[in-house]
C-alpha cells in the first residue's frame, strides 16, 4: 500500500469513527444508536487493520479482527438483546404502546442542537489538547489522534446527559472506543496481554451493566436514570 493511499484510507476511517459518535447525539431511537455504535466498531477495526497492513504486522491484523468481532458484533448484540427484552415485555404488558417509551431517549438533559454544538466544541478542545501529542511524532497516524480524544469527550458527554440506562451504556462504550482508537493511532495499540485484559474487562462491564439495567427496571419500573435519586445527602 502506498503512503498516500494509506493516509487517505486512514483519514477516511477516522472520519467515519468520529462521525458515528456525533450522529449518536443526533438520534433518539436506542436501536439506531446501537447500530451507530456497531458502525463505529467497524471503523475502529478498519483503523487497526490499516495500521497492521501498513506496518506489515500480522499480530495487529489479528487484533483488528478480534476488536471488530467484539465491538461491532458482540457488544451491540448484547445491548440489542436487552433492548428487545424491554420492548417485548412492555408490549405484552401494556397493549403495544409502552414499548416505544423504553426504546427512545425521550428527553435528554441537553437538546439535540445544543448537543451537536457541544460535540463541535469538544472536538476543537480535543485538537487543542492533543497538540503536544502530535508534535512528539508527526506521522499520518498520530495526526489523526485527536479524533480518538474527541470521541472520548463525546462519550463522556453522552454518559452524563442521557437518561436511559442503555444510552448511558453506549456512552461508556463510545468512551472506550475512543481510548482504543487513541492507543492504535499513538502506538499501534497496547501490548497484546493488556489488550486482551482490557477487552475482557469491557465485555464483563457491559454484561454487568446489562444485568443491572434489568434490575433497575424491576426495582423502578423504568430505565430512566433520573429516577435513581434515593441515595443522597
Amino acid at each position: 500500500m502506498s503512503e498516500g493511499l494509506f493516509t487517505q484510507l486512514l483519514n477516511l476511517a477516522c472520519g467515519a469513527f468520529l462521525l458515528a459518535a456525533v450522529v449518536v447525539l443526533w438520534r433518539r431511537e436506542l436501536a439506531a444508536i446501537v447500530r451507530l455504535f456497531a458502525l463505529q466498531g467497524v471503523a475502529l477495526a478498519a483503523i487497526a487493520l490499516l495500521l497492521g497492513l501498513h506496518e506489515n504486522r500480522w499480530g495487529l491484523i489479528v487484533v483488528a479482527v478480534g476488536i471488530g468481532a467484539l465491538r461491532a458484533g458482540l457488544l451491540p448484540y448484547l445491548i440489542r438483546r436487552a433492548l428487545k427484552a424491554f420492548v417485548a415485555e412492555r408490549d405484552g404488558g401494556l397493549g403495544g404502546h409502552g414499548g416505544s417509551e423504553e426504546a427512545r431517549e425521550t428527553q435528554p438533559l441537553v437538546n439535540v442542537a445544543a448537543s451537536l454544538l457541544t460535540a463541535a466544541a469538544l472536538t476543537l478542545l480535543a485538537y487543542a489538547v492533543a497538540r503536544p501529542l502530535v508534535e512528539l511524532d508527526p506521522t499520518p497516524a498520530t495526526r489523526a489522534l485527536p479524533v480518538g480524544l474527541a470521541v472520548v469527550l463525546i462519550g463522556f458527554f453522552v454518559l452524563v446527559t442521557r437518561r436511559r440506562a442503555l444510552a448511558q451504556v453506549v456512552g461508556f462504550l463510545l468512551l472506550d472506543n475512543g481510548i482504543t482508537a487513541t492507543a492504535f493511532l499513538a502506538a499501534s495499540g497496547v501490548p497484546l496481554i493488556v489488550e486482551l485484559g482490557v477487552s475482557f474487562d469491557v465485555l464483563l462491564a457491559v454484561l454487568v451493566l446489562q444485568v443491572l439495567t434489568v434490575r433497575v427496571r424491576e426495582a423502578f419500573g423504568t430505565t430512566d436514570i433520573d429516577d435513581l435519586r434515593e441515595l443522597h445527602d
Partner: protein
C-alpha cells in the same frame, strides 16, 4: 529468581481465584442454580418471605418518597423454615479464610526474601514484588482476614433473617474471593497495563456485591458504582496509553514500555508535555477508585449498601490499592516532570476531598455513610502525605493505609452487626448501644476512637507523622497542612458526637454472645500494636517508603 519466589508471587492472586473456583464448583453441584437472566422471580418462588418483603417495598414505593433498604431489613424475619437453617453449621463459610492466610504468609515470606535483594520478579516482569508490594499485601491479607472471619456470623444472621439463601451465599463467597484475587494481582504486578486490568476487574466483580440486596437503594448504588468507576478508571487507561506512547517515543521497546521499574529508570527521557497529560488523567482516574474528588460520588452509596464485610474490604483495602497505584505513578511523574506538578495536583485534590468529606460528615444521619465519608477523609490525608513526599510523609502515608484499613474494617463489620440488631442504619434510631450489647458497642466505639486518631492506635502515629512532615516541608505546604488539620478537627467533632449519640443512652441488655466478635478484637489489637511499636515491620515500612521516594 528461584521457584520459591515465583510461587510467593503467584500464590496471593492465584489462591483466592482457586478458592473462588472451588466455591463455583461445589456450589453448582450442591445447589440448584437459577438459570437465565431474570432470576428474581425464580428465586422468589423458593422463598416466599422474600417475595412478601418485595411487596412491602413496592407498596411503600408507590406511596412514600423514600422506601429505604432498611424497610426490608426491619420487617419481621420469616418463621419456621428459616430457624432451622440458621442453626445449621456452615463450614464452607470458614473455607474463605484460606485465602487471607495464604496472602499473609506470602507477604511475610516476600518481605523476608527481598529485604536484602531490592525486588524480585517473575514472568518477564508481569509479577514483581518490592518492599511496597510486601507492605500492601500484608494490609490486604490482614483486612481480608478480618472481613472473611466476620463473614460467617454476618451470613448466619442474614440466613436467620431470611434475606440470604444458599444461592446468594454461594455467589457472595465466589465474588469476594475473586475480588481478593484481583486486588492481590493489582498489588503484585509490575506492569501498569495489568495493574489497570486488575483494578477495573475489582469494579466488575464487586458490582453485584454492592447490589446484592436488590432493593431500590442497592440497585441504584450498584448502577452508580459501575458507571462512575468504569468511566473514571477509563480515564486512567487513557492516561496509561499516553504514557505508553511517550515511552515508545523515548525508545523503550514494546514489551517494557509499561513496566514500572523501566519507566522509573528512564523517566527523564519521557516527553514532559505528553507525560503531564497522561499523569493528570491517571491521577484523576485512579482517584475515582480511591474516592477522591471529583469522581467520588459512588463511594458513600456503595459503602452504605454493600454487605458489611464487603464494605470493610472496599473501604479498608480497595481504596488503598487504588491509591498505591497513584503512589507508583507519582514516582514516574516526579522523575519526568519534577516534584511540583504532582505536589500541587495532589495537595489540591486532598484539600477539596477533605472539605467535602468534613462538610458532609457534619450533616450525616446514616452511620454507614458516616463511615464512608470518614474513608474519604482518611484518603485525602494520604493524598496530602503523597503531596508532601518526604521520607517521613511517605512512611506515615503507608502506616496510615494499614491503620485505616484495620480500624475501618473493624468499624464496618461492627456496623453490619448493629444494622442486623437494630434493623436501621439511621443514627437517630440507634441509642443505648453500650447498654444493649456492651461488647459490640465497645468495639464499635473503640474502632471510631481509632479512626479519630487517638493513641495507642497507629492512626495517631501516622497523622502525627503527616503533620510533622507537612510543617517541615516549606511555607506553601505548611498552610495546606494547617488547613487540613482544621478540617480534620471538624470531621473529628462530627464523628465523635454522632458515635456518642449511638453508644450512650438507656437500653435493654440483650444478653449478647460476644464469641462471634473475635475478628474485630483482633483487628483493633493489630491496629493498636502497630501504633505502639512497628517491631519487625519497621524495616519493611522504611524500605517501602524508600521505593516511593523521588529518584
Amino acid at each position: 529468581m528461584t521457584a520459591a519466589t515465583a510461587l510467593f508471587l503467584t500464590a496471593p492472586a492465584a489462591v483466592p481465584l482457586a478458592v473462588a473456583a472451588g466455591y463455583a464448583l461445589t456450589g453448582s453441584v450442591r445447589h440448584e442454580l437459577p438459570r437465565g437472566l431474570p432470576t428474581v422471580r425464580r428465586a422468589q418462588d423458593r422463598r416466599p418471605q422474600r417475595a412478601e418483603k418485595a411487596a412491602v417495598v413496592t407498596a411503600q414505593g408507590a406511596t412514600s418518597v423514600s422506601p429505604r433498604g432498611e424497610v426490608a431489613d426491619a420487617s419481621p424475619p420469616g418463621k419456621s423454615a428459616v430457624a432451622s437453617s440458621a442453626r445449621a453449621r456452615h463450614p464452607s463459610d470458614w473455607a474463605a479464610l484460606a485465602s487471607p492466610t495464604v496472602i499473609l504468609t506470602c507477604a511475610a515470606l516476600l518481605a523476608a526474601d527481598r529485604v536484602d535483594s531490592g525486588s524480585v520478579s517473575a514472568y518477564s516482569g508481569l509479577l514483581r514484588a518490592d518492599a511496597l508490594t510486601a507492605w500492601m499485601l500484608l494490609v490486604v491479607g490482614a483486612v481480608a482476614f478480618i472481613a472473611c472471619a466476620s463473614a460467617p456470623a454476618h451470613l448466619a444472621a442474614e440466613r436467620a433473617a431470611g434475606s440470604a439463601t444458599a444461592w446468594t451465599v454461594w455467589r457472595y463467597h465466589m465474588l469476594v474471593q475473586t475480588f481478593l484475587g484481583a486486588m492481590c494481582l493489582a498489588v503484585v504486578t509490575g506492569n501498569l497495563g495489568v495493574l489497570w486490568v486488575a483494578i477495573e476487574a475489582t469494579t466488575v466483580v464487586t458490582a453485584f456485591l454492592v447490589g446484592h440486596r436488590r432493593t431500590r437503594t442497592s440497585v441504584e448504588a450498584a448502577w452508580k458504582y459501575v458507571v462512575l468507576c468504569s468511566a473514571g478508571i477509563a480515564l486512567a487507561f487513557l492516561g496509561t496509553v499516553l504514557l505508553y506512547y511517550a515511552a515508545r517515543q523515548a525508545g523503550i521497546s514494546e514489551a517494557w514500555a509499561l513496566d514500572w521499574p523501566t519507566l522509573v529508570a528512564r523517566a527523564d527521557r519521557l516527553d514532559p508535555a505528553v507525560t503531564r497529560l497522561g499523569i493528570s488523567l491517571v491521577i484523576l482516574g485512579y482517584g475515582a477508585k480511591a474516592g477522591l474528588v471529583p469522581l467520588h460520588a459512588w463511594l458513600p452509596d456503595a459503602h452504605s449498601q454493600a454487605p458489611a464485610p464487603v464494605s470493610a474490604l472496599m473501604s479498608g483495602v480497595l481504596l488503598a490499592v487504588a491509591f498505591a497505584a497513584i503512589l507508583r505513578y507519582r514516582v514516574i511523574a516526579d522523575a519526568a516532570l519534577g516534584p511540583d506538578f504532582t505536589r500541587v495536583l495532589l495537595a489540591g485534590i486532598a484539600l477539596l476531598t477533605l472539605t467535602l468529606a468534613a462538610g458532609l460528615l457534619l450533616a450525616q444521619r446514616d452511620y454507614k455513610r458516616m463511615l464512608a465519608y470518614s474513608s474519604m477523609e482518611h484518603m485525602s490525608l494520604i493524598a496530602l502525605a503523597a503531596a508532601i513526599g518526604s521520607p517521613l510523609a511517605l512512611s506515615a502515608a503507608l502506616l496510615h493505609i494499614a491503620g485505616h484499613g484495620l480500624a475501618k474494617a473493624t468499624a464496618f463489620c461492627a456496623s453490619g452487626r448493629i444494622l442486623q440488631l437494630r434493623g436501621t442504619s439511621k443514627i437517630g434510631r440507634v441509642r443505648g448501644l453500650l447498654a444493649q450489647s456492651p461488647w459490640l458497642g465497645a468495639l464499635f466505639g473503640l474502632a471510631v476512637v481509632a479512626l479519630l486518631g487517638f493513641p495507642p492506635f497507629s492512626l495517631f502515629a501516622s497523622e502525627l507523622g503527616i503533620a510533622r512532615a507537612g510543617f517541615a516541608a516549606g511555607a506553601g505546604l505548611s498552610w495546606v497542612t494547617a488547613a487540613a488539620l482544621l478540617l480534620v478537627l471538624i470531621a473529628f467533632a462530627a464523628l465523635a458526637t454522632r458515635t456518642a449519640r449511638m453508644l450512650l443512652g438507656p437500653g435493654e441488655p440483650s444478653g449478647e454472645s460476644p464469641s462471634a466478635l473475635w475478628p474485630l478484637v483482633l483487628g483493633l489489637m493489630a491496629c493498636a500494636a502497630l501504633g505502639i511499636a512497628t517491631g519487625p515491620l519497621g524495616d519493611l515500612l522504611t524500605q517501602a517508603a524508600a521505593v516511593l521516594e523521588r529518584p
